[in-house]
Subunit: 499 residues, 2 copies
Amino acid sequence: MSKDKTPRRPRAESPKGFRDYFGAEVTERKTMLDAIAEVYHLHGFDALETPAVETVEALGKFLPDVDRPNEGVFSWQEDDSGNSGDWLALRYDLTAPLARVAAQYRNDLPSPYRRYAMGPVWRNEKPGPGRFRQFYQCDADTVGASSVAADAEICAMLAGSLERVGIPRGDYVIRVNNRKVLNGVMEMAGVLDPTDPDKFHAERGIVLRAIDKLDRLGDGGVRALLGAGRKDDSGDFTKGAGLSDLQIEIVMGFMAAKRADGAATVARLRDLVGGSIVGQEGVQELETISEILDAQGYGADRIEIDPSVVRGLGYYTGPVFEAELTFEILDEKGRPRQFGSVAGGGRYDDLVKRFTGQSVPATGISIGVDRLLAALRAKGRMDTVAVGPVVITVMDRDRIAEYFAMATELRNAGIRAEVYLGNPKNFGNQLKYADRRASPIAIIMGGDEAAKGVVTVKDLILGARIAEGASLEEWKSRPAQVECARGDLVATVRAMLGA
Amino acid sequence: MSKDKTPRRPRAESPKGFRDYFGAEVTERKTMLDAIAEVYHLHGFDALETPAVETVEALGKFLPDVDRPNEGVFSWQEDDSGNSGDWLALRYDLTAPLARVAAQYRNDLPSPYRRYAMGPVWRNEKPGPGRFRQFYQCDADTVGASSVAADAEICAMLAGSLERVGIPRGDYVIRVNNRKVLNGVMEMAGVLDPTDPDKFHAERGIVLRAIDKLDRLGDGGVRALLGAGRKDDSGDFTKGAGLSDLQIEIVMGFMAAKRADGAATVARLRDLVGGSIVGQEGVQELETISEILDAQGYGADRIEIDPSVVRGLGYYTGPVFEAELTFEILDEKGRPRQFGSVAGGGRYDDLVKRFTGQSVPATGISIGVDRLLAALRAKGRMDTVAVGPVVITVMDRDRIAEYFAMATELRNAGIRAEVYLGNPKNFGNQLKYADRRASPIAIIMGGDEAAKGVVTVKDLILGARIAEGASLEEWKSRPAQVECARGDLVATVRAMLGA
């Protein structure tokens, strides 16, 4: 290697679209993942952890954004076998790896196989504000159960998970639809021919994506996309599905089919799918899901049938679900807006078949944990105040072993503690450090204290509160620092922390 | 896209060198990570999570295997900017990303900055038996503390972490050495010239790697590598450092410098480094670490000074640590062998400097969690018996809502439970499923039970125990199944689980 005497220094930057998480950002997410895992586990789901890396062929091309089926993943070719190495990629979700596992271990896994998985996924997309290329998902899926009771269970468990992490009833709704009903409507509209499923494939793709944009584009925008096409604000033109007015009416009628309760919506959908066999089957499934959930006390305030939910994903084959937070938050510009979707899923009976040729029924849900955390933070519901460690200041380098011994005593009592390890010369820096760490207490033992066999225990929270204008009573009742016998250190700190 | 009517099916395989983790494999690791995080947190360390992906330039070339400094990572080029995109790579450890973070946020982080991090790292190496290309690390580092008190703290915390996860005293030892002492010895041996540090660079690299192989190659093998070179069993020749016999004696004397206790070892090392300034500095640091640890009660049975520890990593600049498990396990061929290293670390004062030009002292430890788990399993110390869920069998599809209600009642009482969701026609399959899930209890409610308002609660653990030859007393005292009122379901299950 050539030696460059003045090499350019590397940039100290995370790659574009990736970010670091510090302290409470990490532990709050962990707490949420733990809570959801507990709910999943209680429902009989077992943990599965697949590697971050899969072969490109195993992942397939099922990325949510079907406009760009070949893009969106971080991939590279194995270089250890000339130019014929496998193409590998970072997983873009947790469902594709599950399908691979269900096929690979099909003779060893229980059937049905209920599994949960959580971890980061990666998307090679253009990063934007608040849009990252690595984010967490937290999934639960049931593989091998064709009954829609499995779908109902997933919906109920999703409701339980949301409530468990602090989204109360009324602040969320889980919307359920069925891809089969949509297919029935497509048949009625003449863009799906049951005898030739490949016909009108492109048109149906456009219809699906148009419906999925109802929230954003409104009635008029969706109608334009169903018809000739739509020009957006920037002047860009998106080609439409080319449906006739009558066809458009049928599709739009489907999206407006929601009624006051599940039974009424089901009745309306039954009319709309007319004689379509797959459509009637889909309506029947929705009715069964609705009945099972009703019997368990999940009313339309928590889980509702909503025909406008289609989910962008191409691989769903039956029921689809979406969890939305219904409260408003303020966006970057201070305008109130609905928080929107935090979880989605559905039935995908053909993913395992890709590998084995045999159809395996599967259904599941994916919770977008980072979005859910953002929602709780936006609502001020993350009230875990990060408490820093007790800081044992260093007054005298020769006493460092004694300082460490104090830290050990505190830790043995379950109290987070550390010895200041920076340059101890400037005591002010030590207190600034404690402040930056949000330390509740500082311990001081210099030569005077050591000679008397005492330590000074300084209340930093009170210090901060005094700065915020504590009352005189508070000041009197709770001295900012106390001196205690060295042997009473733990008891004194504990009492001050408890105060 | 062209449509291939009979596409080749993708292989259902994880990529070579990657594996899946199921059920208890996932939760046991999580339990261990949680326990270690608790110890780190209690010591005042804050969580940090960096992305899996870094720029290649930020990662640098510090892979442990310095024989191949350019290899070993999974990397690819960003493709969104022609051919000038950044090269990105999966992190190969958690230290390089920390150095990047310490530089990137140097104005915002407290100093010293104590952080812990845990997660997978990736190595693009040839996979082998038990050798995977994705594995977990669990690190703690202190950045910004030049005092060796920080190194001592890391060693003590490592001991605490090992004991916390179930490795008792006597079953591990943490060996401490100092790269500076080694440099002093190198000076004495004439392969390090303090006025021209670049001289003999290649020779020192060979010396370091040779010393690191003492365990594997023995005294003779290391001497050969220090001298002309060594031919291994397969006939492959490794070029040596070309040292003279006298030089070899000096280096070997260093490795054999360990004495009965820290003070004696320090005295011996002081002789060996003679007039080398850096060597004397290193000995002094070891003495201080030893004193701090002694004062805290860490004797040589837990943490010892051992000059044969050098760690393969090129970036260490001062104290280095290695935790070894001292008990024997049986290898693949049934031969007893020492389990070996499960954690390592040291001081690396120059990693942050790469980015900023300013030297930042740093020290830390990395625990190889997967190896530690393997050790506990090999010793039979993972006694967490995976208990499956209570399975509510499906006798009657029309009662599915009632079955779900029972599952909900059990879960609300904290009992893991699920409704069987496979095809319910064959009841034997349902019990086989419960068996495969390691279910403790099956619930049965068919038409007869429903008419009487009762459920049958079947003890599957007893069933298994009877198969293993339970005594008659056990059989009598604990009936294999009981019938109870529907309203007593939870109480009956709880009593049976508690039995």
